[in-house]
């Protein structure tokens, strides 16, 4: 635990973490200092002046809280008339040229100007002159659409491209009330994290062309999730909604802060993986190549599995720990070989030194922990003797295995997404994807994380664990799988898999000793 210091805010003593600026320090104990330009990942800029506070120690009357370090014994005042007037004045200033198009603005409902107006301003406009006209719906590239009139010039987006991605596409050009954010002609946003400027923007100036006008923010259910786009396992919000007479579908992913994994950001590619949760889904169960209802498809597969002389299980590196464990148990019972062969999920050289990883699978690290072989040799030799291949969601076409190379073996596919393996399957069981299921995964850095069910479909897909149970597996549900994992897997014996902390659990070197990074 970091050192704490005591300071007083509005005459009330609070204990906060040492070494932080005032905004962050007192926010941790539930006191809000309004701020527009400050963002913890971008540092203090001090341009908005909304966070001005009084410090009663004889120093100059007002200081920006974002640039002031919290120190022992500090006496901070937020509730004086002077501060309240400054907050009103700053809000009035920000709103002079701000278009009142909240009814058609994407940010409405999660907009700092709306919130602060209600909390700190509430005054009528005194402006009797025409508003300054600037550019609307300017395409900044990379799916970012900019509205210069809504912009409050906090420079968060500019600082993001200069300090974080170091690509510097954005700048604030011109001066006075004509100042605006713009790209240099012919050099649009072209970094792989561009859409973070949409989240960073405290107002509706930066919008995502993908999300624009699709949903009002207040209709969205914001569930916690983990991105399965690559092995980083970035923490996300899954924003989904069930419209009247419609199914529950996902409208966007947004980054969720987790200092241990992804900080405040996610990559654009990961952000767009929400699409495959809505589309590209397997829906129709198959039994012996014929369309069937779910129950009969599972029963048919169970009968086929019981008859199989040499069943072979193929596991996807996107399966959760619980699913892999259940698959292993079922395999032991059916005397099946298990392979996690999935080299095609790795796109050599695609990753960078930040969030994007070469490995596009979310849980490959678990293979090593659970002892699932992923070599091509084992896969090929097991495939040769197999008369039934049960594929748990692994898109083998990525790894160069086409359906003809599967030989005479019959194929069963238990997975969420359509791919050529599913096309070739005689038995097909569509199951819940990660946004509709709960599970644990280990990321590339050995951080064990948990995700919970976010989306609830009108007709839910069965989860993979329940399908495995119906096929003869011994684990009742995800809780049972966790208990069993804790009892049987060396790495988890000392851990409480039922209670993984929200920020994830960094497994020690010995626990993931044989995991190759």
């Amino acid at each position: 635990m970091a050192d704490t210091i005591k300071l007083s805010v509005n005459g009330v003593e609070v204990e906060v973490q040492a070494g932080k600026n005032l905004v962050d320090a007192v926010a941790a104990v539930g006191i809000e200092i309004p701020h527009i330009c400050y963002h913890p990942a971008l540092g203090a800029d001090g341009n908005c002046r909304m966070c001005l506070v009084e410090i009663e120690d004889g120093r100059p009357p007002l200081v920006p809280a974002c640039k002031t370090r919290a120190v022992e014994g500090m006496k901070v005042r937020l509730d004086s008339e002077k501060i309240k007037k400054i907050q009103r004045d700053i809000m009035e200033f920000e709103l002079i040229n701000h278009p009142i198009d909240c009814p058609i603005c994407d940010q409405a409902g999660e907009c700092i100007l709306q919130d602060y107006y209600m909390k700190y301003d509430g005054a009528q406009s005194r402006m009797r002159v025409p508003q300054v006209v600037k550019g609307k719906k300017i395409d900044f590239g990379a799916g970012v659409v900019h509205d210069q009139e809504r912009c409050v010039l906090c420079a968060r987006c500019v600082r993001f491209t200069r300090l974080i991605t170091k690509t510097g596409e954005l700048g604030i050009v011109n001066r006075t009330d004509q100042a605006r954010v713009n790209i240099f002609p012919g050099r649009p946003l072209s970094n792989r994290y561009s859409l973070n400027v949409v989240d960073l923007c405290p107002v509706g100036a930066m919008t995502s062309s993908d999300f624009r006008f699709k949903q009002r923010a207040w209709f969205l259910t914001k569930s916690k999730g983990i991105c399965h786009g690559c092995s980083k396992g970035c923490n996300i919000f899954i924003d989904h909604n069930r419209e009247k007479y419609q199914d529950d579908i996902i409208y966007r992913y947004r980054p969720r802060h987790n200092e241990q994994v992804n900080g405040y950001f996610i990559c654009d590619a990961g952000r767009m993986t929400y699409k495959q949760e809505n589309e590209k889904r397997l829906r129709t169960p198959l039994a012996s190549g014929q369309q069937a209802d779910l129950e009969s498809a599972i029963n048919a597969l169970k009968r086929r599995l019981d008859q199989a002389a040499n069943p072979f299980f193929v596991v996807s590196p996107n399966c959760s720990l619980e699913q892999m464990h259940a698959i292993q148990q079922l395999a032991a019972q059916k005397k099946a070989t298990v392979s996690g062969f999935s080299e095609g999920y790795i796109q050599e050289g695609d990753g960078d030194d930040w969030l994007i990883q070469d490995d596009k699978a979310a849980n490959r690290a678990a293979f090593a922990v659970l002892g699932i072989d992923e070599t091509k040799e084992v896969f090929n030799s097991a495939l040769k003797g197999a008369d039934l291949v049960v594929n748990f969601g692994n898109d083998l076409s990525l790894s160069g295995v086409n359906n003809t190379s599967l030989g005479t073996a019959e194929m069963a596919f238990i997975g969420s997404y359509a791919n050529s393996c599913a096309d070739a399957a005689a038995y097909l069981v569509p199951v819940a994807s990660y946004s509709e299921d709960s599970g644990s995964i280990i990321n590339v850095d050995g951080v064990l994380q948990r995700y919970e069910t976010a989306v609830k479909k009108n007709v839910p897909f069965p989860n993979m664990l329940s399908v495995i149970r119906q096929l003869g597996g011994g684990l009742d549900d995800v809780q049972a799988a966790r208990t069993s994992l804790g009892n049987t897997v060396e790495a988890f014996k000392k851990l409480d898999l039922q209670n993984i902390p929200a920020q994830g659990l960094a497994l020690t070197a010995s626990e993931v000793g044989n995991v190759t990074a």
């Binding site: 500019v158 491209t161 200069r162 690509t167 510097g168 596409e169 954005l170 700048g171 604030i172 050009v173 011109n174 001066r175 004509q178 605006r180 713009n182 790209i183 240099f184 002609p185 012919g186 050099r187």
Partner: protein, 168 residues
Amino acid sequence: MSNRAELIESGKPFAFDAERDAEFERLAKRYPNRDSLILPSLWLIQDQQGWISVESIAYVADRIGTFASQVYEVATFYTMYHLRPMGKYHICVCRTLSCYLLGKQQIVDYLQQELGIRPGQISEDGRFSLEEVECLGHCGSAPVVQINGEFHENMTVDKFKELLSTLK
């Protein structure tokens, strides 16, 4: 000046000529932080081609090794950088206090009538452009006018008549 946020393309590539190139290299040694080269580089562009185009900003940004957006910011912030071609003779009339009190308006009125352009405009033949600027720092000899960087002090309408005849 109208919308300074809009840059104009010249339609042809830009590079420093030998003289400005040498000057750029001389300046580059002077600044520990290369971003400091933005202001003098923009002056060099303006010196060379009279105004600052999209191509020239991209050129100096790459040359300095900074973001084009940052050079764009600087070029649009300072009003003494011309973001469009100016007249052959660019006339700046000081409008700050001393010049104002000593009759800059008569000079501006005269020029408007004589050249047919208002401040911020360029004459149709492209020979003259007129601009009212803030203090030029020659208050002791107000009103003062600057033509292509050259100062003309204690200006009167009569003196301007004479001056214009030499320019036309």
